[in-house]
């Protein structure tokens, strides 16, 4: 039998991913069994929610739309034309179709029955990596990197993306509404508004029943223009009556009320009428925050928080936002930037609140300034879910007489901050790597000495500290203190090859993630028996390797592991491919950890391999490949065979 027709199919397929990644023989075998389907406009190839059939589809000519059907309304997710592959992920991941494929013009579709070589496709590391990376990276990135992405997700995950119009979540937050009496001077009201950082104040009578509202806009249009004097009562400029609603109202209701009345604020009262006490205020801004699609607003909200409970509430909303990003397959680089911003702001606000508290207690702020450092994963800007806190504090060098009071002040401050962060949901560090520990609340001079000790007298314990402390990042206060410390470290490391050797050796300490038979290594006993430790087995080896290499390259200020690898790829073109793979792998691992954490409502560190889908297991295994290669690179570069 000759192969004229399949050869033509082969020539076509080999131009497009993932087929271009297959070896010749396999692709030829696939080509010999292809089904050439003629499809007319309007035909449905598969429907959202259907179990996958045994075919992968590729458009030979014509066009197919992938639609996400939500409440019977189809939303166009992707348009496939010549060479575009669809229906591949559900098949390999053994999941139902997340989208509907609808033919929109007369088309020829190649349908590939994978029965028989599904295994081969899955096991092909290049294909799995292709699928994993299209899964892991954002859409924009994908278009640039390797053609169109495949937006095939679990169905239930897609469903989660649409946020239901539930009861207004921020009601709780505005339960303490800003109010004043009608005879309050406009000047006073303005002071109250700016102090409480709100855009409106409700004017109430003695019984707390609402009479009217004064907003920023009223101040601008009626007072700033000189129309009404600052010493007049607010009653003169308030809008009245105020529109009131009851406490059990949905986002949709609020939107309707606002549009109907052309207003930006609603007053919540106990019974929904103006004849009952005010219990809250809803602004358009609150609505946007509830809808949860704006990290900038979340960050602004953090600045208005007055206690740990409020901060915790925001952090939970940030997690909802992250969940949405994760399920929408937004690039991890973006997600981690947003979450770091939120974390940083939470820490900053905790510090500010604690300082204010100490001011109130009558504690004099020392003349020496300080810098708050985040360590570990937050230092690396990789903390998506809340984990233990790791932090430290540097204060400016002071004359000896001032040392004790300064240190005392900062220890007390750190004590308050860490307690507040604990309330927000960041557990205390079990190893006490916190600024409230006298060993980690030091002057710049002391810190320099500490790092010198670690560098010049490396011991296993010192190296352990290094892996945590070297990822420090200034969060609040005098950044120049951190910069000075970094300079000191690079100066010292220069002459200390042995130190990097120790650090590199430590990077090899983590046990390999797979057994000889390519099964996941699970914990033998304890609380996490039979669970896989994604942090220790897969992420730390990559983070550790990145740290050694970046320290060696004397690059400061890049703390993020995948950004470190990206930088390394730039610096060492010979290992470009490996570093890029490592960066990709780390992103994928972060995503898995976040997904598992969201699913199991924990930090995502431990999970049972059996709970992963087959494709997820294959993807994960492929992420481990660069670990092995990096470890041999470290061994070679730092001649670790001798050190052992």
């Amino acid at each position: 039998m000759e192969n004229t027709i399949p050869r033509r199919v082969y020539d076509f397929l080999k131009e497009f991913p993932p087929f271009n990644l297959l070896d010749r023989d396999l692709l030829m075998r696939i080509s010999e069994r292809i089904l050439v389907q003629y499809r007319q406009s309007g035909e449905i190839i598969f429907r959202q929610g259907d179990p996958p059939n045994t075919h992968i589809y590729i458009v030979r000519e014509g066009a197919v739309h992938l639609l996400w059907e939500k409440d019977g309304e189809p939303v166009l997710v992707e348009e496939c034309d010549e060479g575009d592959v669809f229906g591949i992920r559900p098949l390999l991941a053994e999941e139902n179709y997340a989208l509907t494929a609808k033919v929109v013009e007369e088309s020829l579709i190649y349908a590939i029955n994978v029965e028989g070589f599904k295994e081969v496709l899955e096991k092909n590391p290049k294909v799995a990596f292709y699928l994993a990376s299209t899964f892991a990276s954002g859409i924009g990135e994908n278009y640039r990197r390797q053609g169109k992405p495949m937006l095939f997700l679990d169905q239930d995950k897609m469903a989660d993306v649409s946020f239901p119009l539930v009861e207004v979540q921020s009601l709780e937050k505005s339960k303490d509404p800003v109010t004043c009496l009608p005879d309050t001077f406009i000047r006073e009201a303005a002071v109250i508004m700016s102090q409480r950082e709100v855009g409106s104040v409700i004017i109430v009578d003695e019984a707390s029943h609402p009479l009217g509202i004064v907003t920023d806009k009223d101040l601008r249009s009626k007072v700033a223009t000189g129309q009404v004097g600052l010493e007049k009562p607010v009653a003169e400029i308030m809008s009245s009556p105020v529109i009131t609603v009851g406490p059990h109202i949905t986002v949709a209701d609020v939107q309707i009320e606002m549009v109907k009345n052309r207003i930006n604020h609603l007053c919540i009262t106990e019974d929904g009428t103006s004849a009952s006490p005010v219990i809250g205020v809803l602004s358009e801004h609150d609505l946007m925050v509830v809808q949860g699609n704006n990290p900038a607003l979340l960050i602004r909200e953090i600045r208005r928080c007055r206690n740990g409970k409020e901060l915790r509430h925001i952090r939970e909303r940030a997690e909802d936002l992250m969940k949405k990003y994760i399920y929408q397959e937004v690039a991890i680089a973006f997600i981690s930037t947003v979450m770091s911003e939120v974390n940083d702001e939470l820490i900053t606000q905790s510090i500010k609140l604690s300082q204010a508290e100490m001011d109130e207690e009558g504690r004099q702020r020392p003349s020496a300034g300080f810098c708050w450092l985040a360590l570990g994963s937050e230092g690396r800007q990789e903390q998506l879910l809340r984990t233990d806190q790791d932090n430290a504090l540097i204060f400016e060098d002071v004359p000896e007489v001032d040392y004790e009071p300064t240190k005392n002040y900062y220890l007390q401050l750190a004590e308050k901050v860490t307690r507040l962060l604990n309330e927000v949901g960041y557990d205390f560090c079990p190893g006490d790597m916190m600024a409230s520990n006298p060993s980690w609340c030091l002057s710049l001079e002391e810190w320099k000495a500490q790092f010198s000790t670690w560098i010049f007298e490396p011991s296993p314990k010192a190296v352990m500290y290094c892996t945590i402390f070297f990822d420090y990042r200034p969060i609040y206060g005098m950044e120049e203190l951190a910069t000075a410390l970094t300079g000191h470290i690079f100066e010292n490391i220069g002459g200390q090859a042995i130190f990097l050797g120790f650090l590199a050796k430590d990077a090899l300490q983590n046990p390999p993630p797979l057994t000889f038979f390519r099964n996941f290594v699970v914990e033998n006993g304890g609380e996490h028996k039979d669970e896989f430790d994604i942090k220790a087995r897969a992420m730390m080896p990559l983070a550790d390797a990145a740290r050694v290499l970046i320290l060696d390259a004397k690059v400061g200020k890049i703390n993020n592991t995948f950004r470190r690898f990206e930088k390394l790829a730039e610096l060492e073109p010979i290992h470009k491919e490996l570093y890029e793979q490592a960066a990709d792998a780390y992103e994928i691992l972060m995503r898995y950890r976040a997904l598992q954490g969201l699913k199991n409502k924990n930090s995502g560190r431990y999970f049972k391999p059996s709970e992963l889908s087959k494709m997820e297991r294959v993807n994960l295994r492929n992420c481990f490949q660069p670990i092995k290669e990096l470890q041999s690179l470290l061994t070679l570069r730092y001649q670790l065979a001798y050190l052992r």
């Binding site: 000759e2 004229t4 027709i5 080509s31 050439v36 003629y38 007369e106």
Partner: protein, 230 residues
């Protein structure tokens, strides 16, 4: 006389070789005028020959694919080259690029090729571009072999195309040639002039023509066969 009829009814005439008996058996009455297009087994085929005279020219290769329910399964294709000791005519070599007499281990003789083909088709509807010629080429071989000819329904894509176009009056010569139709229906013309390549192209053309006829209410084999012969 009556006994012949009974014998015919009871079973195939034992003198025929196995492949032909199986072929005759395949006409079991399941395919009829009311069979919907979706259920028809089509065999779209093409032969490359030494010339255009069925009586003296010989088959160089046969290519065929099966079409059913708007789908071509490449796993079930026929693509064979025939070993001929025939002196070629220069022109055909140029067209097909097949050099007769060159010993290729994949090549089989003409009889074997036709047996393959008959076994491949069974009672399917035979489709080709100017299918009458290709059928007569096969029949020529069958006639010499066992004195039989193909009994299948046939569809000519050229004739279907005429029916689809609905043009009346004078048309340029070549309007219904395969090349012209491929351009008209935007069919990629790779491997034109190999039997298998042409069969595949014709199969795609068939599906596109069938879809257009179906829109006009042609839904069964009966409706298709009403097309004018060409």
């Amino acid at each position: 006389m009556i006994f012949d009829w009974v014998a015919k009814l009871l079973g195939p005439i034992p003198d025929y070789p196995e492949f032909w008996r199986q072929y005759l058996d395949s006409f079991d009455g399941t395919l009829g005028k009311r069979t919907p297009i979706e259920e028809i087994n089509f065999v779209v085929f093409d032969t490359e020959t030494t010339g255009l005279d069925a009586r003296k020219d010989r088959i160089l290769s046969i290519g065929a694919v099966k079409v059913k329910n708007w789908q071509i399964d490449l796993g079930q294709r026929l693509d064979c080259y025939v070993q001929q000791s025939y002196t070629p005519i220069g022109e055909t070599i140029e067209v097909h690029g097949i050099l007769p007499g060159v010993n290729n281990e994949n090549n089989i003789d003409e009889i074997e090729a036709v047996q393959h083909f008959v076994g491949y088709c069974h009672n399917s509807v035979l489709v080709g571009h100017h299918v009458a010629f290709d059928v007569s080429m096969v029949n020529q071989v069958l006639k010499g072999m066992i004195g039989q000819r193909l009994a299948n329904h046939r569809l000519d894509t050229a004739a279907l195309a005429v029916r689809v176009s609905e043009k009346k009056g004078y048309e340029q010569p070549g309007t219904y040639g395969l090349d012209t139709l491929c351009r008209k229906y935007k069919i990629s013309m790779s491997d034109r002039h190999t039997a298998a390549g042409d069969a595949f192209i014709t199969a795609v053309l068939l599906m596109k023509l069938l879809a257009r006829l179906k829109k006009r209410g042609v839904k069964t084999l009966g409706g298709l066969l009403r097309s004018p012969s060409f």
